[in-house]
């Protein structure tokens, strides 16, 4: 039998100023199961709470209604108070008679009082049906998975590892380093990208707490915060890294060359290769698409049709450690983690979508990233800037900003943020390489919001003498050895034509292909561009709606290096914070299935946003739904959908809500 105590707060005059409190107290006394009702100047104050505790003891109350400010304000406070009096903290209900009554109906004392009485009535009706609820504890596996070995992932991995926790760093390419490794210099400081990145890569390789898994992808993710079970698919390298010493003989001797992904097709690499000199791990993989022997094996498998490929196997012959493993197959590794950091980064927008700029057909229309490779001392040209078409040294270079950014026509409305600055950097670098170079930069706006960015832009303008032309070029075409860039100078309001030796498109950032599929596996959301969505853009920038899964860097949106690093560290801090606890307390407000009522139509599974519902077969061979309370967030979507009313939501049961509605008419 419920014994309800109702405590009505004056909140100074905030509440009592707008209504007749005594009338509310009188009315409350008459409500069903109410054994005591009283009012208090400040219920949230220590004396106020004390009087509540006292009343609970004196009247043997087992349910408490506090009519005061919004539950969003003081529910935790009063739960503590109730708990202090030995009651289950969930046997409390709050009637919001301040924010939703006295403060909005101050103009009509009678109506405010009447409404307050009914709000109390609703709360009483609900509290009577409250059941004690008990939070559950789930253990935390203090092991983190970082997906993506770019600068963001590296930073996150190092920070977590340095805090003393095990980390698995997962990279889909043969080496970590990501896009930053491809850069020559970094704006606005112009320090050498490799020089600041590679030491961190080496730290990762040598860190006792970090296990590096390259050339691998996520296959499946199950479980929940503190207890993820992840299946990782390790692609076949065809090289046994336990034996390989990375001596390099194989890739020097390999006869089969193909365009290098790392150099964006500007140079070639052998079929057994490491992407670049400082790659980590510095051990090769065999490119099964190009390797001659693999082709030969395929030819044999296909019944020796057509021309016989050479049965090369040179690498195998010369390998001093016998590391070549032709029979190596992809393998699945299953690991358990307490938290996951997603730092899959970005890829450069493919300018082939721009028919008007030649759709990638002109060798001398290149992307900013390609220019990085041309400038880079360890790049395909050894840092000599030449035109891909004829190797000539460009004297006139045209830049086009916002390619694949801020362009509705191409379905890319967002600004990629880094292009303005890296274009300025390119202008400055080109001038340093060759004082006779003249740069023309077509821009929409120059966005230089960042520390020392504006100064950097001015350097390009004044020192490097780059000519900035406002406007997006309408067409680029070839004329003899020249590339003609047609545009309009928006400021002068006249058409302009630049005959350039080389055109650099400042292509924007887009999420890595497959970011959406990964997000689905992790059950986190992504926007129309497939950038991952954070829990809150301002206040929870590295969390997601799925507990224990964090996001950082350019996979969330365009970021420059310092921001990415900061986010990597932020995510790491969140993970470390999570790992600072041995167990997680889960909110007891979750769905629960009545197995006798459940008919196994499984509509609940379809609507659950958290994959928190599964099904099982009962002893009498019926299929029924089961809720994983650690995954359930208590939204009640399943309850709203359930026809047989088999699922219910603790703390917001159908019983309670119906009683609340009923109370208004009884």
């Amino acid at each position: 039998m419920a014994r309800v105590g109702v405590f009505i707060c004056h909140c100074g005059t905030n509440i009592s100023g707008a209504m007749d409190i005594t009338r509310v107290v009188e009315a409350a006394r008459k409500m069903p199961m109410v054994v005591t009702a009283s009012d208090n100047k400040y219920t949230c104050s220590e004396p106020g709470q004390a009087s509540v505790r006292q009343a609970i003891a004196d009247n043997k109350l087992n349910r408490v209604v506090i009519a005061a400010c919004s539950p969003r304000m003081h529910e935790p406070t009063f739960r503590k108070a109730v708990a202090a009096a030995g009651l289950n903290p969930y046997l409390l209900e709050i009637a919001n008679i301040r924010e939703q009554c006295s403060w909005v109906h101050a103009h009509d004392r009678k109506k405010a009082t009447d409404k307050a009485i009914e709000l109390v009535k609703i709360a009483v009706a609900k509290v009577i049906r409250h059941e004690p609820l008990y939070p559950r504890e789930v253990p935390v596996t203090k092991r983190a998975l970082v997906i993506g070995g770019g600068i963001t992932g590296i930073q996150a991995a190092l920070d977590i590892a340095n805090a003393g926790h095990e980390v698995v760093l997962l990279e889909q390419e043969p080496t970590i380093g990501g896009r930053m490794a491809q850069l020559d210099k970094t704006f606005p400081t112009l320090d050498c990208s490799a020089c600041i990145l590679t030491p961190k890569m080496v730290d990762v390789a040598n860190h006792p707490n970090i296990r590096l898994i390259t050339y691998a992808e996520i296959k499946e993710v199950r479980g929940f915060v503190g207890n993820f079970k992840v299946e990782i698919m390790q692609k076949a390298r065809k090289v046994d890294h336990t034996k390989c010493t990375g001596c390099g003989t194989c890739w020097q001797k390999c006869p089969e060359k193909s365009p290098s992904e790392f150099d964006l097709g500007l140079g070639n690499r052998p079929s057994i290769y490491i992407p670049f000199a400082q790659a980590v791990p510095a051990k090769p993989v065999i490119d099964t698409d190009h390797c001659r022997y693999i082709k030969y094996l395929q030819w044999v498998a296909d019944g020796e049709q057509g021309k016989k490929p050479p049965e090369c196997r040179i690498c195998e012959k010369i390998c001093p450690t016998g590391s070549i493993a032709w029979d190596q197959e992809p393998q699945t590794i299953t690991e358990e983690f307490g938290a996951v950091v997603v730092a899959t980064g970005f890829q450069v927008y493919d300018h082939r979508h721009y028919e008007e700029y030649g759709g990638g057909a002109y060798p001398d229309v290149i992307s900013g990233m390609q220019l990085e490779r041309l400038m880079n001392a360890s790049g395909p040209t050894g840092g000599e800037i030449i035109r891909p078409s004829d190797g000539a040294h460009p004297k006139t270079v045209a830049f086009v900003c916002c390619v694949g950014s801020r362009d509705q026509a191409k379905g890319r409305t967002y600004c990629s943020k880094v292009c303005c600055m890296y274009t300025a950097k390119h202008a400055i670098m080109l001038k340093e390489h060759d004082p006779h170079v003249q740069c023309y930069i077509f821009y929409i706006d120059v966005r230089a919001g960042g520390k020392d960015f504006e100064e950097f832009y001015l350097r390009a303008l004044d020192d490097a003498g780059a000519i900035y032309i406002k406007g997006r070029p309408s067409k680029i075409y070839q004329d003899g050895k020249k590339m003609i860039v047609l545009g309009e100078d928006a400021l002068m309001g006249r058409p302009i034509e630049v005959a350039a030796d080389l055109v650099v498109l400042a292509t924007g950032m887009e999420p890595r292909t497959g970011a959406d599929r990964l997000a689905q596996k992790l059950n986190i959301s992504y926007n129309t561009y497939h950038f991952l969505v954070e829990a809150h853009p301002k206040l929870r920038p590295v969390e997601t709606q799925t507990d224990g899964i964090f996001v950082a860097g350019a996979c969330v949106g365009p970021r420059d290096i310092p921001e990415s690093v900061a986010q990597g560290s932020a995510a790491a801090a969140k993970v470390v914070g999570l790992f600072s606890r041995d167990a997680l307390v889960t909110d007891p407000v979750t769905s629960v299935v009545n197995r006798d009522r459940c008919i196994g139509c499984l509509l609940c599974i379809a609507v659950c946003p958290y994959k928190a519902i599964d099904c099982e077969t009962t002893r009498d061979k019926r299929v029924v739904a089961v809720v994983n309370e650690s995954l359930c967030k208590g939204c009640g979507l399943c309850v709203g959908a359930c026809r047989p009313k088999a699922v219910d939501l603790r703390g917001f049961t159908s019983q309670q809500i119906l009683e609340e509605v009923n109370s208004l008419w009884s």
Binding site: I599, G600, A641, R643, A646, S654, Q655, L658
Partner: protein
């Protein structure tokens, strides 16, 4: 036609001794049909099929879960099977579906066969079963478009008229739950109307409670009703239940572009959503 049904059923039952064939036999009035359960192949002669076979036999599959059953279905009934498979109630492999191309059923009552078709048949779109193991009869072309003139008639009334109309109709309800018991979509362990704790519907069989019961019933069948019309047929006090169901059918077709039971795979409207949809009717 009936011979094909008998032979197919016989063949099947001979292969599945523990099985049961659910079909139609002659009713006690000697002119209309009624459901029959046949367990021995030699009894197959009882089977009939004519324009009085109005019953939706798919409902019976629910009490035979986990056993092997052959069932004679009309197109509308077959959609019910898809519904039940979609809702994980039936194992497709355990049932043998004898789908009959439907000529349309006649309005028939005990001892009386009218010479006009059932209203549901007059408005039927699909004359070939949506799912079957064996098809009896030549597949018929679909009727091009829905005829919601009946619904439109009600929509055409004023609010007060509609209100009065349904009060009168639901007012007759005696809460025998024949509509629920015959309905293929109603298979809850315990119906919300019978639940006491919480009490969704009042304990009285009074007009107010009939109102919420009938709305609840219809809404639980929204985007699920396969319009076999059985609820309306069995109602002893002639409440035009299909008129309510069909409004929901029409709306869910408009709003969600969904027709229940056409296949077993498509996610029903309440299991999914489209972020971009606006549902002007709401906003």
């Amino acid at each position: 036609m009936i011979e094909i049904i008998r032979n197919k059923a016989k063949e099947w039952l001979e292969k599945n001794e523990d099985g049961c064939v659910i079909g139609y036999e002659r009713a006690s009035d000697g002119m209309t049909a009624r459901p029959v359960f046949i367990y021995e192949p030699h009894m197959m002669g009882k089977l009939i099929f004519d324009e009085t076979c109005v019953h939706n036999l798919s409902k019976y599959l629910l009490n035979r879960r986990g056993t092997r059953t052959a069932v004679v279905v009309k197109p509308c009934d077959s959609r019910g099977i898809n519904l039940l498979i979609n809702e994980h109630q039936l194992d497709r492999d355990s049932i043998y579906i004898i789908g009959v191309v439907c000529p349309g059923m006649k309005e028939s009552h005990f001892g009386r066969i009218e010479d006009h078709p059932l209203s549901k048949c007059r408005r039927c779109l699909h004359h070939t079963p949506a799912v079957y193991d064996v098809l009896v009869g030549e597949p018929q072309p679909e009727t091009a478009s829905h005829d919601y003139s009946d619904v439109a008639r009600i929509e055409g009334m004023s609010l007060q008229e509609r209100n009065a109309f349904w009060k009168e109709q639901f007012g007759r309800c005696i809460r025998c739950y024949g509509c629920r018991q015959i309905c293929i979509g109603c298979y809850c362990q315990e119906c919300f109307v019978d639940e006491l704790d919480p009490l969704w519907v009042g304990i009285r069989s009074c007009p107010e409670d009939n109102w919420i019961w009938n709305i609840g019933r219809a809404f639980h069948l929204s985007a699920r009703c396969i319009s076999c019309g059985e609820c309306e047929r069995v109602c002893p006090v002639g409440i035009p239940l299909m008129l309510a169901n069909r409004k929901l059918e029409k709306e869910s077709a408009d709003l969600f572009d969904f027709e229940p039971g056409m296949d077993a795979a498509t996610a029903p409207p309440f299991a999914t959503f489209i972020k971009e949809e606006t549902l002007e009717k709401v906003e």
